[in-house]
């Protein structure tokens, strides 16, 4: 991963002392870390450690009670999901959230929505500039289809696809928004070894080809250690480690969190 190291740039997003609670349940306590440009950051931790909450905070779905988020140099306490999307954050979900009755192509096209300039009326008329715009976006969608090697399912309703392929389509939709920061919530959950290998390759290729910054949650330690530049470990809503895969692997607190220790 030497080449990967060289391309990592400045801080893209920084979280400072984020606290998130639902009533009496503290989901995140005093978590701070940063995501740097072009890196692949893995967020790991046992079940209920607050990993998904973390992603939800980053893309503005949850609003932390305390703490600040600095994204692209702008500091803000809260962000709404559509603002996050408009400023270049795209994500996939732990439980696939695609339009099941729509085709792969149409699902990916929905990812282009924020890029469309013509309004609804133009599109309904489907004339002149609207046609040109549609062609532009279709081309972008086709590039993604080509990139993810899903040509054979272009017109298949996603509800009929196997799970692994649905995950790939979801990645495609997130990529369609041409994000600067891509959040992947368990992109490899429920996949077999071959599908995982494919997905790893796609994630590395995304980072490589588009320079996208990626934050991902993953349980498969082999995958995490292989593809990420840096790992943040959460346990009971607290950050217990932050460093390169090798540093984290040897960290006593991490080993305790995973293997269990009497408190």
């Amino acid at each position: 991963m030497t080449q990967a190291r060289e391309r990592i740039g400045d801080t893209l997003l920084a979280l400072e002392n984020v606290n998130l609670a639902f009533g009496g349940v503290r989901a995140l306590s005093d978590v701070s870390f940063e995501i740097r440009e072009h890196e692949i950051l893995a967020i790991i931790g046992p079940n209920g450690a607050g990993k998904s909450s973390m992603l939800n905070v980053i893309n503005g779905f949850y609003h932390p009670q305390e703490g600040a988020i600095t994204y692209k140099g702008k500091k803000r306490k809260q962000m709404r999901p559509h603002e996050a999307a408009a400023t270049g954050i795209a994500r996939t979900f732990q439980n696939i959230a695609l339009f099941r009755g729509m085709s792969t192509l149409d699902n990916i096209m929905t990812g282009r929505l924020l890029k469309m300039r013509r309004n609804f009326l133009w599109q309904a008329l489907y004339w002149g500039p609207a046609v040109r715009e549609e062609m532009e976006h279709r081309e972008a969608a086709e590039r993604i289809i080509d990139f993810l090697e899903i040509q054979s399912i272009r017109k298949t309703p996603v509800g009929r696809l196997p799970y692994g392929l649905q995950k790939r389509v979801e990645l495609g939709r997130a990529l369609a928004a041409e994000p600067d920061l891509l959040l992947l919530d368990e992109p490899m959950a429920g996949m077999n070894v071959e599908e995982k290998e494919d997905m790893c390759r796609f994630i590395l290729d995304v980072s490589d080809e588009f320079g996208t910054t990626i934050a991902l949650i993953e349980h498969d330690m082999g995958v995490v250690m292989d593809i990420s530049d840096r790992v943040v470990v959460l346990d009971y809503g607290r950050k217990i480690a932050d460093g390169t895969p090798d540093e984290v692997r040897g960290n006593a607190a991490v080993i305790d969190a995973y293997l269990g220790v009497s408190h």
Partner: protein, 654 residues
């Protein structure tokens, strides 16, 4: 045919220039890219080939050098063949799914200096091959994806090579024309490595004369014209693809289309509606299996309609296609069926416009063959080989006998050895096996006759009937004739059976290994709420075994009606715990079963079939797609099937 191939058009680069002059504005090749068919005209192809040829020359490719071509069917890879030939180099296409180790053999044997490959996957293999000792001077790739960080100085992108070629062309005016003019018909056009059901692959050297004459004969035989539509999807390293998608296109000027990816072939087939289609029997089997599965899932109205009209088609469809007299009532019913069933079916499969479909490579089950012909698809059989530049025999229109492979093709002579082996002589007969005079001498006689290795005979109508590989036809210990392929083909017609391997030569009875078809059996399991976690589990399911037993007994019934083969009915069988796979060496790259290899690998299972055991334990090594190996273990049941004693009781009854 001399009119179509004037003396001066004796190589493909010359033919390419000729097409560009005659049909410059007509489509020559298409590729689906980003969901849209992109077309190159003959004039464009000629320009692309020229730039590439000059680029290769600038990189140092010389007359007589070999260039390996590895990848799916892509226009740029086809152009590489012409471009290499233009400057006198020899293309050596390789099977794109071979592992690096298999490729190394060919690259060493053919002394390949250059490689033109499709993408990162193949580049990685080339890098691995190159890391040995000084193999491969230059590697050129088509698709740069994923290779941002590859900075080896021997790697070049296709576009860069062409750009350098254009400069070279301007600086060396007349170079290209002079190089093309140097080529003659007797030059080596290509070396095709045969996958080889036994031993190491052999490099079949074919000259331009071989290919151009054979291609022209095929065009004349079937009246191929400028407007044919062809889908190029079979491996480029296979002689059939080379002749149909490359050679004949250059001669007749028709357009060849390359599918988007190997997974989209069936979609692309449907969009394109080829008029001239070639597929090995396996593909026709797979399509039929898919149709049958989907019909099982259809509503009862559709299902009834399908089965009713298929029985009509069975009665009279083939005769209608052959323009034979058919009673009016049947003709009317068939017309209705065409409207309701056959037409829509052909359309779904992409065969609406097909004028001519060929199958070859292996015997096709008579039932499968009849299915296609009866639904109005002019499917014909062809018997050929790499050593013959494809054509040995082919079925003429209107003279289709399902159990034969037709009459000798134009300019082909046929004779038989005393043991019944087929021999042929034709203008397509290969020059030699590359660097293997011994193998050449063993196959080709001094006066140009070639041994095929197949046993067969000419029937009364003068059509060739192939029984089996000459060396595979055997006898049971009781003297009954045993033709393994015949039995395997009968079994494989059942949609649930993907592959079968029959044993019996010098044994007491016939026994088989069966591979279930995961698509067909999986669909059955889904409909019947049978849960399974893996291929292995499904293959051992009692209901699956019961159904396979029924199929085996049905085959035994068929065999019992055949006087000669009644003695070789299947007595014992087992369902294998893994799919036979080319990666494990069990199938050839063209997916033919390597019977003796399978017998060696699973010798404990073969022995169990001939013992009294009713189950046995087995551990098998298998290779994953990335080349790693794993072991699977299974307890296999060995089952017995009922045999039917035929009218004259044989000694076998004991």
């Amino acid at each position: 045919m001399s009119s179509a191939t004037p003396e001066n058009l004796d190589t493909f680069p010359k033919l390419c220039a000729d097409q560009a002059a005659k049909n410059g504005g007509r489509p020559a090749i298409r590729e689906k890219n980003f969901g849209i068919w992109q077309t190159w005209t003959w004039a464009q192809v000629a320009a692309e080939v020229r730039a590439l040829a000059c680029g290769l020359a600038a990189l140092g490719l010389k007359r007589g050098d070999k260039i390996a071509i590895v990848g799916d069917n892509r226009p740029r890879l086809y152009w590489t063949m012409t471009a290499a030939q233009a400057i006198g180099a020899i293309p050596v296409p390789l099977y794109q799914d071979s592992a690096a180790k298999e490729m190394t053999f060919v690259i060493d044997h053919a002394e390949v200096r250059f490689a033109m490959v499709e993408d990162q996957e193949q580049v990685d293999k080339m890098i691995e091959i190159r890391s040995g000792d000084g193999r491969l001077d230059q590697v050129i790739y088509d698709d740069a994806r994923g290779m941002r960080h590859y900075n080896h100085d021997f790697l070049h992108s296709f576009d860069d090579v062409q750009a350098a070629g254009r400069e070279f062309d301007t600086a060396n005016a007349g170079f290209y024309e002079a190089e093309v003019a140097k080529g003659t018909g007797t030059d080596t056009a290509i070396i095709l490595y045969t996958s080889g059901t036994t031993g190491q692959p052999k490099g079949v050297v074919l000259s331009f004369d071989n290919l151009v004459r054979s291609a022209a004969n095929g065009i004349a035989f079937d009246n191929l014209c400028l407007d044919e539509e062809v889908l190029a999807y079979l491996p480029m390293a296979w002689v059939g693809d080379h002749l149909f998608s490359f050679g004949q296109s250059y001669l007749a000027g028709f357009c060849v289309s390359c599918p988007e990816s190997s997974d989209t072939v069936l979609h692309d087939l449907r969009e394109l509606g080829p008029t001239y289609f070639f597929a090995p029997p396996r593909i026709f089997e797979n399509i039929l299996t898919t149709v049958m599965i989907r019909m099982e899932d259809a509503g009862w109205v559709k299902r009834r309609m399908f089965h009713y009209f298929m029985s009509v088609a069975k009665r009279c469809g083939s005769d209608i296609l052959d323009r034979k007299p058919v009673p009016l009532a049947n003709r009317l019913l068939y017309a209705i069926g065409d409207l309701l069933v056959y037409g829509p079916l052909r359309n779904t499969l992409g065969f609406s416009r097909v004028r001519l479909a060929y199958t070859a490579g292996e015997a096709i089950g008579p039932e499968i063959f009849a299915f296609y012909r009866s639904t109005g698809i002019n499917l014909k059989q062809l018997y050929g080989s790499t050593e013959a530049s494809v054509y040995i025999t082919m079925q003429p229109d209107g003279e289709i006998l399902p159990d034969t492979v037709g009459r000798p093709a134009p300019e082909v002579e046929i004779k038989f050895t005393d043991s019944g082996e087929v021999m042929f002589r034709s203008p397509g007969v290969f020059v030699e096996y590359y660097k293997s005079a011994e193998a050449t001498a063993a196959t080709k006689t001094n006066d140009g006759w070639v041994h095929t290795g197949d046993a067969g005979y000419l029937n009364e109508q003068g059509h060739l009937k192939i029984i089996d590989r000459a060396k595979d036809v055997g006898r049971l210990n009781n003297g009954a004739l045993f033709a393994p392929k015949y039995i395997e083909n009968k079994l494989k017609f059942f949609p649930e059976i993907k592959e079968a391997v029959a044993y019996g030569d010098q044994r007491d009875y016939c026994a088989v290994f069966v591979n279930i078809d995961l698509a067909a059996v999986g669909s059955w399991a889904e409909r019947n709420n049978v849960a399974y976690a893996s291929y292995q589990e499904l293959a051992a399911h009692p209901q699956v075994l019961a159904s396979i037993t029924r199929h085996i007994e049905a085959v035994n019934r068929d065999l019992s009606e055949d006087e000669k083969l009644a003695g070789s009915q299947i007595e014992r069988f087992l369902v294998l715990h893994k799919e036979l796979d080319a990666d494990d060496g069990e199938l050839t790259r063209t997916r033919k079963v390597r019977r003796s290899f399978v017998a060696d690998k699973y010798d404990s299972l073969v022995e169990a079939l001939y013992s009294k055991l009713d189950h046995t334990h087995v551990e098998t090594e298998m290779t994953f797609e990335d080349g790693r190996k794993g072991v699977i273990a299974a307890d296999l049941q060995i089952l017995s099937a009922k045999t039917i004693s035929s009218a004259p009781p044989l000694k076998a009854a004991s």
